[in-house]
Amino acid sequence: MKLKILVLAIICFLIVASLFVGVSDVNLGSMLNDPQALNVFLTSRFPRTLAIVLSGASMSIAGLIMQMLMKNRFVEPSMVGTTQSATLGFVVVTLLYPGASLMFKMLVSCMAALAGLYVFMLIARRLPPTAYLMVPLVGIIYGGVIGAAATFIAFEMDMMQFLAAWINGDFSSVLAGRYELLWLTGILGVIAYLFANQFTIAGLGKEMSTNLGLNYSTIVSIGLGIVAIITAIVVVTVGAIPFIGLVVPNIISRLMGDNLRVTLPWIAMMGAGLVLACDLIGRLANYPYEIPVGTIIGILGTVVFLYLLFVKPAHVR
């Protein structure tokens, strides 16, 4: 119990820190006196912090759902091509309909993410179930191929710089009026929580689910849909945030087990906290210049992933 309160306190601290760290001088005193500071706070700091919390939480939830549905602890949206498919969809639609509204582009991106995910599920079904670690490997190659396609199109159409902005998750461009789509991910996270028990059962496999009376294919479709939409929204709004969906559910699972109804809120909170911490590091490491959060997570996330690979959990929960 004490640990949980400590974690909550840390997260609150991180949120407050994120609200007040930055190049401009914004603190409570200056906000009351200086309209400029208040403007910075409302237009940039607050939306940015909110965006971080929402994307961190929702990417963790998406990773969790994917792990449940694929029955493999080492998969997550950016490692099975979903992020790359969303990026590809976005690049293609920007190319073909540059004047289209953001909503339309996001819709196309969502469908691309869904398609990419579906194709990967087809591939994963062909893999021998005993080669547990082959699935993430194939996923990475698959994601790499799609990424190469997106790079190819961007290179030919001179959009490489545009693409680079999406490949690496970056919160520095989050302003009020450009991040509202992320609220949708929050709603999806809540929906995931409502379905938490069903996802837990679905994580036991098709036979067990049918045995227990669950409509397996419907739940799988809902789960995949949630994952694809969350991924697409986050990619379109802030870029790709890798590894959060992998690292956070694994850590929480080792600490608290697999009952989703219990662990989902904690996963969301830890995901938010982790991305907050990384973003803070990104803002402070090369002050006053910012390092994109995707890079920081790339460094931190890989180290934690290696730890997860090599250190087996103490006992089965």
Binding site: L127, G144, V145, A148, F155, F305, L306, L309
Partner: protein, 298 residues
């Protein structure tokens, strides 16, 4: 290959022969390195989807470039003797691969997939570190590093060719003499041990040879991921045999054909408009995906 040397040369033989000859040799070496290393890797892992190039060598290469620029500054980096730089790059990559492969040595089950996954993750780690460094250095220095990000088949430094030639020819002789052992190892770990092959020892040896090939090709032309897959896929389809005595030369020829004709296309037909590596990656990726979805088994 004759076409490569002669098309559009407009008679300036003094220049053309050494220039194009050097390029041709470089392309052949790289083709050999990439194709053979992929085929060997796929034999070892009994899996036609994987390629050694996902194991992070290209990211390590990028990281080495970025670190060198960070330490020496853009000017110092540009003034480095190419041969010296080349040997440092290969040296570091070999050390890294020995470290990764040694994890195989110390584990009982010899879980190859875990090692590959570690390689991939390390690749992401190196790429992120390189990106981090790139963000800290001067924009001028960054321009120097950015060139290293894409595989460059055009300007292959011919002075490096001598070292590469020696290395690759040496490796290829060893591989050719191992060809029968490779056939047995393709049967899988249990069968190979059953038939009397010291599996673990040869595993490490072949991985080391693959590491040399991958390091040399990455240091010569930059990062390539899917070209090897493209070549090995075509080779398996064309030569419906498992015997490495046939597969190895076939892979080399297919790879050389693809690379040389691709480069020719680019230079003469498309007028150097696009970057060969991007197209190759793209095509390789598509072929790979089609291949993947059509097969019933791996």
């Amino acid at each position: 290959m004759a076409l490569f040397m002669t098309v559009n040369s407009s008679g300036n033989w003094d220049f053309v022969l050494p220039f194009r000859g050097g390029k041709l040799l470089a392309l052949l070496l790289v083709a050999y390195a990439i194709s053979i290393s992929t085929v060997l890797f796929q034999t070892l892992t009994a899996n036609r989807i994987l390629t050694p190039y996902i194991m992070g060598f290209d990211s390590l290469y990028l990281l080495i470039q970025s670190a060198m620029v960070l330490l020496l500054g853009g000017l110092g980096y540009a003034m480095l003797d190419p041969a010296f730089k080349f040997s440092i790059e290969i040296g570091i990559m070999l050390v890294a691969s020995v470290l990764i492969f040694s994890s195989l040595l110390f584990s009982n089950t010899g879980d190859l997939y875990r090692m590959i996954l570690v390689g991939v993750i390390l690749g992401v780690l190196f790429r992120s570190l390189a990106s981090f460094i790139q963000r800290i250095i001067d924009p001028d220095d960054f321009a120097v590093v950015q060139n290293a990000s894409f595989a460059q088949f055009n300007i292959v430094n011919t002075s490096l060719l001598q070292i590469s030639l020696v290395l690759i020819v040496g490796v290829s002789i060893v591989i050719w003499r191992l060809r029968h052992i490779l056939d047995v190892m393709a049967l899988g770990r249990e069968h190979a041990i059953n038939l009397g092959i010291p599996y673990r020892r040869y595993n490490i040896l072949i991985l080391f040879l693959i590491a040399i090939l991958v390091s040399v090709s990455t240091a010569l032309v930059g990062p390539v991921s899917f070209f090897g897959l493209l070549v090995s896929g075509i080779t398996y389809v064309l030569m419906k045999t498992h015997r490495h005595a046939v597969l190895i030369p076939a892979a080399f020829l297919v790879g050389a054909l693809c690379l040389v004709s691709g480069q020719m296309l680019f230079e003469h037909v498309l007028g150097m408009k696009a970057v060969l590596s991007v197209v190759v990656e793209f095509l390789g990726g598509i072929v790979f995906l089609v291949f993947l979805l059509k097969r019933k088994t791996l």
